[in-house]
Structure formats: structure tokens, C-alpha cells
């Protein structure tokens, strides 16, 4: 559970905006059936409405989206999202807006969602377990961003 003024989705929103091809390459935009479109909408909703959770948000994630996304971009975005996670631990809420965007990236990157126990450290271990190479890259990118920010 986090408060609106603790999170900064501006950078993530810009990144997702750049990732979204607005149907140019996809031939026709699937809108809310697309993981990037959905994640972009969540970020945009947070910035507009100043909310931290979206009720039933998890249930709305388009997890049947099977498009292939740029691995580098997904890892980069995931690292950005992890930076905004507040390590809520027991207070973790699946419908947290950060969690929703992260889950979209997971589906895009791993093809499935990973368990999240309210801790970035534990999450990085899960990512490593799921895919060693991607997990290692993600950890390196996250630590690098953390160092430079």
C-alpha cells in the first residue's frame, strides 16, 4: 500500500508512451487487449487521477496478449517500475498501480506473472529463477538505475 505522492510514474509513462506504437506497426491497435496499451493507460490514470490502486485492476490485465516485445525495452521498463516499488511486504496489494504495470511487463517478458512478495530483492530472485539470463540483466539494470538516481 503506497501513497500517491510517494510514486513517480512520469518517467514510466513516457517510456510506455514511446513503446506504444499506436497501431502503426501492429496494423490495427488492439487497445485494451495489448499489454503495453494497458500499462500505458494505468500510468496515465495514475497521473490524472492521483490514485495508487485500481480495484479489480489485476483482473483486467490482457494476459492473452502474445505479441513479441523488445526484450531490452521490457527489462528497462521493469527496472524502472521496480525502482518505484516501496517494498510494502505484508501490505502489498495486487491491485497497486505499480504492481499492475509490473505484471504487464512480466507477461510481455516471461509470458507469465511472477509471484511478488512485496520486496524487490525477493522479486529479483524470482526473476532469476524464472529465466537466469533475463533475471541477471534485470538485476544489473535495476542496480545500475538505483546507483545513478
Amino acid at each position: 500500500m503506497i501513497a500517491e505522492n510517494e510514486i513517480n510514474l512520469q518517467e514510466i509513462h513516457e517510456k510506455l508512451n514511446n513503446l506504444c506504437l499506436d497501431g502503426e506497426v501492429c496494423s490495427n491497435c488492439e487497445k485494451n487487449k495489448c499489454l503495453i496499451f494497458f500499462a500505458k493507460k494505468v500510468a496515465s490514470y495514475v497521473l490524472t487521477k492521483k490514485v495508487t490502486t485500481i480495484r479489480q485492476g489485476m483482473a483486467m490485465i490482457p494476459n492473452h496478449d502474445l505479441k513479441t516485445y523488445s526484450e531490452d525495452d521490457m527489462i528497462e521498463t521493469l527496472a524502472m517500475v521496480l525502482q518505484q516499488c516501496k517494498d510494502c511486504r505484508d501490505n502489498h496489494d495486487d491491485d497497486c498501480t505499480i504492481n499492475l504495470i509490473r505484471t504487464c511487463m512480466e507477461y510481455a517478458l516471461f509470458g507469465d506473472k511472477l509471484p511478488y512478495q512485496g520486496s524487490v530483492t525477493l522479486y529479483l530472485l524470482e526473476a532469476q529463477k524464472s529465466n537466469g539470463r533475463v533475471g541477471d540483466t534485470l538485476k544489473a539494470k535495476y542496480l545500475n538505475r538505483k546507483k545513478t538516481k
Partner: protein
């Protein structure tokens, strides 16, 4: 109804001062700083219920009460009544973590309900997020904000007891403005169904939670559930 005045072992009075959910202005604090030595206070103690108990000689009681009333404060309540409300500093200006403006809500609940008679003491706690700094799970009526306009309500918690227990989640994501209707209903039902001096958790244990529930569609206010779905499709 009972006042929060407790004779101590050494003969002095412990007098509980109630404020709006523990909030004291600098002027009130300075005023107390002057008043306490004037009435010969031995000391004061901050309580777990966000009140302050001041230890004063019995003969100074009237002067003390007049003094605190001049500061806009009052003697707290005790006994089988709705007690003062514990409220966290969750609002637009204070706690960063709060999900809704609950401090104002808690103060309003206290103003409207404190000192109303109940079968047993009835404690209310209001928290701005699930961290629950005011221990809403340990209150007879615990309120937790789940968003700017929504709250959850837990019923039947109690802290200090041989058998402490957490309240049961009774209302999920209801509109904040419906809290007064819910509280009225819970208090009315509790008064009707409780046996003599029965704490709410025991009444719920005997009759179940159902009589204390108002169906969501009958609650005032609306939760804009489909707001994000509309936004998504826009």
C-alpha cells in the same frame, strides 16, 4: 455517562483530556504548560487512546476543568459509551501514506458519536491505510481507507483483554460518506441484540455478523467502480 476521572492509589485524580483525535494546537499545549503547575499537577501521561491523563490533587479539579475548557479542551468519557475516536493524521496535508482524508472523518465521527450510550464500551479507530497506526483491527468499529473515496470497516475487535481479537472485515470498499449510516446501523443493532454489558465481539460471536451488515446497494454514495474501465476504453 461516565467521565474519564480516575482516583489513583495515592489519592490524586487522573483526569483524561480529550482532543480532536489527539490533535493539540501549540496554543493549547502552551496553555497546558501553564495550567498544570498552577493546579499543582504531579504530571501527565499520554494514553494509547490519544488522550492525555493529568494527575491533579482532588481539590484542584474544578479549577483544572475550567482551565482546560478555556483552552478549548474537555474531560474525556469513560464507561459504557462510545469512547473518543482514535484517528491517524491521514489527510491531504499530513501523512504521506494515507490513501484518503480520514483525519477529518475521524474528528466528525467523534463529534457526532462520542459519549453515546452503548451496552459496553465501544471503541472506534480510523486509519488512512492498511498500516493501521491507530490499530483499527483492535477496535469495536475499525475504519481503514482503501482510496480517496472508499473505506473498509472491521467489526468486533478488542485489544486489552484476556482474549484479544481482531475485528472481522464487514464492509469492503464502501463509499466514505456511507460510514455514518453504517455506524448508526451497527450501534442500533448492537443495542438491540447485546446482552447486559456484552462487548460487541461477544454479541457478534453469539448472533453472527449478518445483523450488522447493510447490503451495499442500500448504502448511500456510489463507488465509481467502472471509472478505470471507462478510462481504459476511452
Amino acid at each position: 455517562m461516565g467521565k474519564a476521572i480516575f482516583k489513583q492509589r495515592n489519592g490524586v485524580l487522573g483526569v483524561g483530556i480529550v482532543t480532536p483525535c489527539g490533535f493539540i494546537t501549540p496554543e493549547q499545549l502552551c496553555g497546558l504548560g501553564k495550567l498544570l503547575p498552577e493546579v499543582g499537577a504531579l504530571g501527565s501521561k499520554l494514553t494509547t487512546r490519544q488522550t492525555m491523563v493529568v494527575l491533579i490533587p482532588e481539590e484542584a479539579f474544578d479549577r483544572f476543568v475550567a482551565g482546560i475548557r478555556n483552552l478549548g479542551l474537555d474531560v474525556g468519557v469513560f464507561g459504557d459509551v462510545v469512547r473518543n475516536v482514535k484517528g491517524c493524521p491521514g489527510n491531504g496535508e499530513l501523512c504521506h501514506r494515507s490513501l484518503g482524508n480520514v483525519f477529518e472523518l475521524a474528528v466528525e465521527i467523534q463529534q457526532q458519536y462520542m459519549n453515546q450510550p452503548t451496552p459496553h464500551d465501544f471503541k472506534i479507530s480510523v486509519a488512512g491505510c492498511h498500516r493501521g497506526c491507530t490499530d483499527p483491527h483492535c477496535a469495536d468499529f475499525g475504519v481503514i481507507a482503501t482510496g480517496p473515496k472508499t473505506v473498509e470497516v472491521f467489526l468486533g475487535g478488542r485489544g486489552g483483554s484476556r482474549r484479544p481479537q481482531h475485528g472481522q472485515k464487514a464492509y469492503v470498499n464502501i463509499p466514505k460518506e456511507s460510514i455514518f449510516v453504517v455506524l448508526d446501523h451497527v450501534l442500533d443493532t448492537y443495542r438491540k441484540l447485546a446482552e447486559d454489558h456484552e462487548r460487541l465481539c461477544n454479541t457478534i460471536g453469539r448472533v453472527g455478523l449478518d445483523p450488522f451488515i447493510i447490503q451495499a446497494e442500500k448504502l448511500p454514495g456510489t463507488v465509481e467502480e467502472d471509472e478505470f474501465a471507462d478510462f481504459l476504453n476511452s
